[in-house]
């Protein structure tokens, strides 16, 4: 009787495990089925490198280069802001902060991760957007820069917590060794601890960037959504994710527009996949 119970539970758990893979495959297949249809109407290179996105003109122009550039600019900006701050914060928590401050900071970082992206979006909309507009005297504050700053907040918790783990897992005797040679605390951090934790920190950065690329709501609210190839970081841009979210509701099922949005989904899927695999490679190189 007990054996049968064990067996049933074992199989149930197996089923749960398989379900995860099954759903991923199913989603991917569905994406492919709907997305690849667009390439009957527009060639893959025209789709990827076409410079205009006018999905409802006649005939529709389905070039996603402006969207890819939009995503890249916003992501790059967010990375430039969040990586130094995030890694610096991780170093402070792991190495310098005394006990109490450490606890407060860690709780704060967790709280930052818990803020829904739509909330970050509207806070950005009422505070950051007017600020950017006034500081640079722009016609609108809905720019790639605003998006980058807001997304940096979203990437930071990921970067901080994983980089901090990486720093903690550096063996204590490296630190002792450096101190025993007369190194200062900063020299020890810069020359020993950071290099020793580098693979974990790189993984942290990749996962943080992955989060930024996939983010939709906040960017849709504050980047202005203009599908043009951005010439600077101070103009409105439209990202891949925001395009899908904004247009899916109005696209006619079975139209070129509809299929093109699914194809954008494939592109996003591939980008995220590459980023996650890279992060994984860095994480496992350590062991």
């Amino acid at each position: 009787m007990r054996k049968i119970k064990e067996l049933i539970i074992e199989k149930l758990i197996l089923l749960c495990g398989l379900a995860a893979i099954f759903f991923v495959v199913l989603i991917f297949l569905f994406l492919l089925k709907e997305g690849l249809a667009v390439f009957k109407m527009v060639s893959p290179s025209d789709f990827m490198f076409g410079k205009s996105w006018y999905p409802i003109s006649e005939p529709p122009k389905l070039g996603i280069l402006p969207l890819i550039m939009g995503s890249l600019v916003v992501t790059f900006g967010a990375a430039v802001i969040s990586i130094p701050i995030g890694v610096g914060c991780a170093v402070y928590i792991a190495e310098i902060a005394p006990g109490k401050i450490k606890e407060v900071l860690k709780a704060g970082i967790e709280l930052l991760a818990a803020i829904p992206s739509v909330v970050l979006g509207f806070i950005g909309m009422v505070t950051l957007v007017p600020l950017v507009k006034n500081v640079w005297h722009l016609p609108t504050g809905l720019t790639a820069l605003s998006g980058s700053i807001m997304l940096a907040f979203m990437a930071m918790p990921t970067i901080v917590s994983i980089a901090e783990d990486a720093l903690y897992s550096v063996p204590k005797n490296y630190k002792e060794g450096a101190f025993a040679l007369g190194a200062t605390h900063w020299q020890t951090i810069w020359r020993v601890l950071l290099p020793a934790a580098s693979s974990g920190i790189l993984a942290a950065v990749m996962l943080g960037i992955g989060r930024v690329i996939g983010e939709t709501m906040a960017v849709m609210m504050i980047t202005g959504n203009a599908a043009v190839i951005p010439q600077s970081i101070l103009v409105p841009v439209r990202t891949l994710t925001a395009t899908v979210a904004a247009e899916m509701g109005e696209a006619v099922v079975g139209s070129e527009h509809y299929f093109a949005l699914f194809a954008i989904g494939i592109v996003l899927f591939i980008i995220s996949f590459i980023i996650n695999v890279t992060a994984d490679l860095f994480l496992h190189r350590k062991q």
């Binding site: 630190k175 002792e176 025993a180 200062t184 020299q187 020993v192 290099p195």
Partner: protein, 251 residues
Amino acid sequence: MAKIVTQDLKLWYGNFQALKSVNASFEAQMITAIIGPSGCGKSTLLRVLNRMNDLTEGVRTEGQVLVDGNNILGDGADLVTLRKKVGMVFQRPNPFPLSIYENIAFGERIHTGRVKRDVMDEIVERGLKSVLLWDELKDKLKSSAMSLSLEQKQRLCIARLIAVKPDVLLMDEPCSTLDPQATARIEELMYELKRDYTIIIVTHSMQQAARISDDTGFMLLGELVEFGKTKDIFTAPKDKRTEDYITGRYG
């Protein structure tokens, strides 16, 4: 001439007193061994001498440790200068996860900033030669120090320390992870180094202490029971507890 002198040195970890009024005097250009059973405070004593104990939380000291006549305990001490002068080799070899070259170059880089390439090359070569690793490793200076054998790693750590030009080498059971042949070779190296450095070694092996040291201190339960010439300690111990330990009654 005494290089390091401890006067009435007491140390507590929280409420636990790990050192009880230690008075010892470590001579320059000699090897002093500290022996005793596990937990007797011998590593603690060693780690006070360059303030490595500061990394442990809740440590409190009383008394004085004079290095070249200057007290190094207390808030005023310059720890960077102290540790540059009094370096340490650890029980487990701990090369940095950098290249062999960068491990030796580390000390020079942190203490002098920018160094010309050829000067650094020479420092690295001299460092590796001083621990007899040059011939083995000269063709793979760029490979990771983590790929070396345990003995090579420990030699590298000694070379890395010597490159900083300390006066004193503190060695915390440097051979405990090595096999007997490697141990013999490291001991030989220590004998070589004795000419230029003051060496203080903590060891759990009485034989090792008897082989290599000039002076020996025997510790028990945080107390420095007996301190003197190695041959006196091993042939004519004054204290009953020392005699019991070296004849193997306990430990």
